[in-house]
């Protein structure tokens, strides 16, 4: 039995400790927002936060998240999360959408550390999130827009 906190709720799961966190989220907890892309920490689609840091959930055994706070796209309630959501809708960022939860979870880390990220900051943060539909230009625009929304300086 492994206890962890997911999106503010304490959960106990009965799985092999080596099970990747991704599968616990999707299969045991039915949180389908986090996606499987590569299973090898190469694409970023499975990105979640563990104790506030970005983590590739496909390579993190659930035992390593025991007792920690896990946040998925469903629980991204911090203010920058709302700004990202609004910006993503405004700029109509997703194409197929498959990579987008991972993109937003990574972008949330950036906005927490940089109120006004530069293009170079965005490249440094987002270089590990692959989009097979190549929505990169809109992602960049939406991060700038979300940062402005979070600063309260844009309408």
């Amino acid at each position: 039995m492994i206890t962890l906190e997911v999106n503010g709720r304490s959960v106990v799961v009965d799985v092999d400790p080596g099970t990747p966190l991704l599968w616990v989220l999707r299969e045991n907890l039915q949180l389908m927002g986090t996606k499987y892309g590569c299973g090898a920490a190469q694409c970023g689609s499975c990105t979640v936060h563990v104790d506030g840091n970005a983590v590739r959930s496909c390579v993190l055994p659930v035992s390593a998240a025991a007792g920690k706070k896990v946040t998925t796209i469903e629980g991204l309630t911090e203010p920058s999360g709302a700004a990202l959501k609004q910006a993503w809708i405004e700029l109509d960022v997703p194409q197929c959408g498959y990579c987008q939860t991972g993109q937003i979870m990574s972008a949330a880390i950036l906005l927490r550390q940089k109120r006004q990220p530069s293009d170079a900051d965005i490249d440094a943060c987002m270089g590990g999130n692959v989009c097979r539909c190549a929505t990169y230009v809109r992602i960049r625009g939406a991060i700038h827009r979300a940062a402005a929304l979070a600063r309260g300086g844009a309408r």
Binding site: A40, A41, Q42, G44, T47, N53, A54, V55, R56, V59, L60, A64, M105, S106, A107, I109, L110, Q113, K114, D121, D123, A124, C125, M126, G127, G128, N129
Partner: protein, 194 residues
Amino acid sequence: MRRTLDRRVLLVASLAAAFALAQCRAAGPDPAAQARSAAAWATVYEVLQHPRCVNCHPAGDVPLVGEHREVHPQNVQSGGNGMGLFAMACPTCHRDENTPGRHMPPGAPRWHMPPRNTPLVFEGRGARELARQLADPSQNGNLSPQQLLEHVKSDPLVLWGWNPGEGRAPVPVPHRTFVAAFQDWVEGGCRVPE
């Protein structure tokens, strides 16, 4: 009374002189130890130039990967503190241990690069140049020779070079041989080879 005092002064002075001589001897290794030190550097240098070591001691701000020292994919950068940047911090993918399987992220506790202010570059450094750099606290992260020895003996990131996970070649020189050579290098005064 006066003679007793003189005797005491003499005693203290001769003790101090003996102590200073001992210090001097300890500070200056004998020529044979110095020769061993210079000779041992070849083994140390061979290890430090292996991709398992160089890849996280690159000349630039970006770690390298693989046997051919390619730039780390995904636009990974060291960040000022050597821990990566934003959502691309090292522990995003690298855990305390290797992830099983080929092409999976390697791992060891506190996976990181040297910070930018003490970059500890191994890539492209010649043997003499690297010996000089490693012996100089202003260029080696402020470490004494003893601390350097401890680092190569027991730091999990160093030990990882001999247990790098599937699909990566370990350092071919045995760790024991490396530590013995490093010890010779340190004990003989961190000599820069001719």
